[in-house]
């Protein structure tokens, strides 16, 4: 772990010491994942299928969200043996999840040298007040968000990548659509405020419950300072392409692949549709003959206490 506060901002040419864990290095890996698909896997064999299909990274976990949802109980960080088995099986980056606020699970995953940690609402929260102080870690974090304020709070805590939450484990993409539209819409609104009356951004920061400096940066640039992926309910090539057309930099697919009839074919089809998200002919081609999609659950049928997207504060 490094303390970013004491890290020199402008190391000189004579500085022979490589600077690890800087915001640029953490955000840089997410930049290299853009346009790609990150797939949930629960075994080394699934990880190989994902890599072979063209995934840019895998998320190693014990149960996909659909099973966590079906089986209930407290969901926690995966067994290190499982994570290491998946790290040994593939050469693409391996991510793994920790419970919201569980900084010791994060210390363990950093020790295991996972490439990215997902502080995830899919697992049972360990702290209903605080998220992890992610600036204290060398390993980068991705966090979920349902709106811009939530995204900016996570970035202030050190998240180097944001994913819209969606409703994981359902195969219903409607919540993912809502969250990416909300985040993009709120960014556009900030931009408009900045052009007309920049002094109103102080109140915007108050309303968003996010630090003013980051609010100002977003208002100026018209985008988040980190990569924005989308997640939760993506189950088909067309789902993935829609998320890209709505402005996502890339897509997480959880239960949608390995809960479907032909995971290898579906994984590759989603990779193709994500790369050529604006080409209906290629999306059509990718959508053919994939067999059964995951059956799924309509989010409207889920009682409110079982909605994962509402975890996180």
């Amino acid at each position: 772990m490094t303390d970013l506060q004491t890290t020199p901002a402008q190391p000189t040419a004579s500085d022979a010491t490589p600077l690890t864990g800087s915001p640029l290095v953490k955000r840089g890996l997410a930049d290299m994942l853009k346009g790609g698909v990150i797939m949930d896997v629960v075994t080394a064999e699934q990880a190989r299928i994902a890599e072979d299909a063209g995934a840019v990274a895998v998320m190693a976990l014990e149960r996909v969200p659909a099973d966590i949802r079906a089986q209930g109980g407290v969901a926690r960080m995966s067994d290190p043996d499982l994570i290491e088995g998946i790290q040994a099986a593939v050469s693409i980056p391996v991510m793994a999840k920790v419970r919201i606020g569980h900084f010791v699970e994060a210390q363990v995953l950093e020790h295991l040298k996972v490439d990215y940690i997902d502080e995830s609402e899919v697992l049972s929260p360990a702290d209903y007040v605080n998220h992890i102080d992610k600036q204290r870690f060398t390993v980068p974090f991705v966090c979920g968000a349902t709106n811009l304020g939530e995204a900016l709070r996570r970035i202030a805590e050190g998240a180097a990548m944001i994913r819209s939450k969606g409703e994981a484990g359902t195969g219903d993409v409607s919540e993912a659509t809502k969250h990416i539209r909300t985040i993009r819409g709120q960014i556009a609104e900030l931009q408009a405020v900045y052009k007309v009356s920049p002094d109103a951004l102080y109140v915007k920061a108050k309303e968003l419950a996010a630090p003013y400096d980051i609010v100002l940066e977003v208002a100026r640039t018209g985008k988040l300072p980190v990569v924005l992926f989308t997640a939760g309910g993506v189950a088909t090539p067309a789902d993935a392409a829609m998320m890209m057309q709505l402005g996502a930099d890339g897509v997480f697919v959880g239960s949608g692949i390995f809960k479907s009839g032909n995971p290898a074919a579906r994984a590759q089809a989603i990779v193709k549709a994500t790369a050529f998200y604006d080409d209906p002919a290629r999306i059509a081609e990718a959508s053919r003959g994939l067999g059964e999609a995951m059956v799924g659950i309509n989010v409207g049928d889920l009682p409110a206490p079982h909605r994962l997207a509402e975890r996180g504060w």
Partner: protein
């Protein structure tokens, strides 16, 4: 005489750090062109293969029929810069490929992927560049290194004694990401190659 139009520089845009290269090229006065199909290669003065996941990029290049046209264009003398995964694509071989992973085989070097370790070993670094005491400020992100340098391939930079930047003819391959740190030295070199090629008699 008409003023020379801005050089058109393709950026392979299948996956990865595309926007950062496009922004830097624009800043240097070039016109970036996103390359997603073989048709996009027409009329380019140079091309950049960005960072990303090399196994994903290889797969998409082949799935969408772009591998051979891109390879032909580079072998035909199109000035080319590959960064990180782009260097892996250019190489003639990978020591530790993903299953079935191929390369374009246009730069006679062998590479090793993720040679510095996992993401916690990724770092911002200042590298000596060339012979005149110049340096580049850059970042290695799960970076590859060059483990074998073929005949006629020039070594441009080393990090911890390991080769991380090479050039051969009109092809430049580097392990690192100048586009993330705003370091323009390497892109300027690519644009010089593009300019030299444009001034050749047709």
């Amino acid at each position: 005489m008409n003023p020379s139009p801005a050089p058109r520089v393709g950026v392979l845009a299948l996956q990865g750090g595309v926007a950062e290269h496009a922004a830097m090229l624009r800043e240097l006065g070039a016109e970036p062109v996103l390359v997603r199909t073989p048709e996009h290669l027409a009329g380019l003065d140079a091309v950049v293969l960005p960072g990303g996941e090399s196994s994903t990029l290889d797969r998409l290049l082949r799935l969408f029929g772009l591998r051979d046209p891109l390879r032909d264009a580079i072998l035909g003398g199109l000035p080319t810069l590959g960064t990180c995964a782009g260097l892996i694509l250019l190489s003639s071989g990978i020591e530790d490929p993903a299953p079935g992973q191929q390369t374009l085989e246009v730069l006679d070097v062998t590479v090793a992927r993720n040679a510095f370790g996992s993401q916690v070993d990724s770092a911002e670094v200042t590298l000596p560049w060339g012979d005149d005491g110049a340096v580049v400020r850059t970042a290695f992100i799960r970076a590859p290194v060059v483990t074998r340098v073929g005949e006629g391939v020039e070594v441009l930079a080393r990090h911890r004694g390991v080769v991380v930047a090479v050039a051969s003819g009109s092809v430049i391959g580097i392990s690192f990401h100048p586009e993330l740190t705003g370091e323009t030295t390497v892109h300027e070199r690519l644009l010089q190659l593009a300019e030299a090629r444009r001034s050749l008699p047709a």
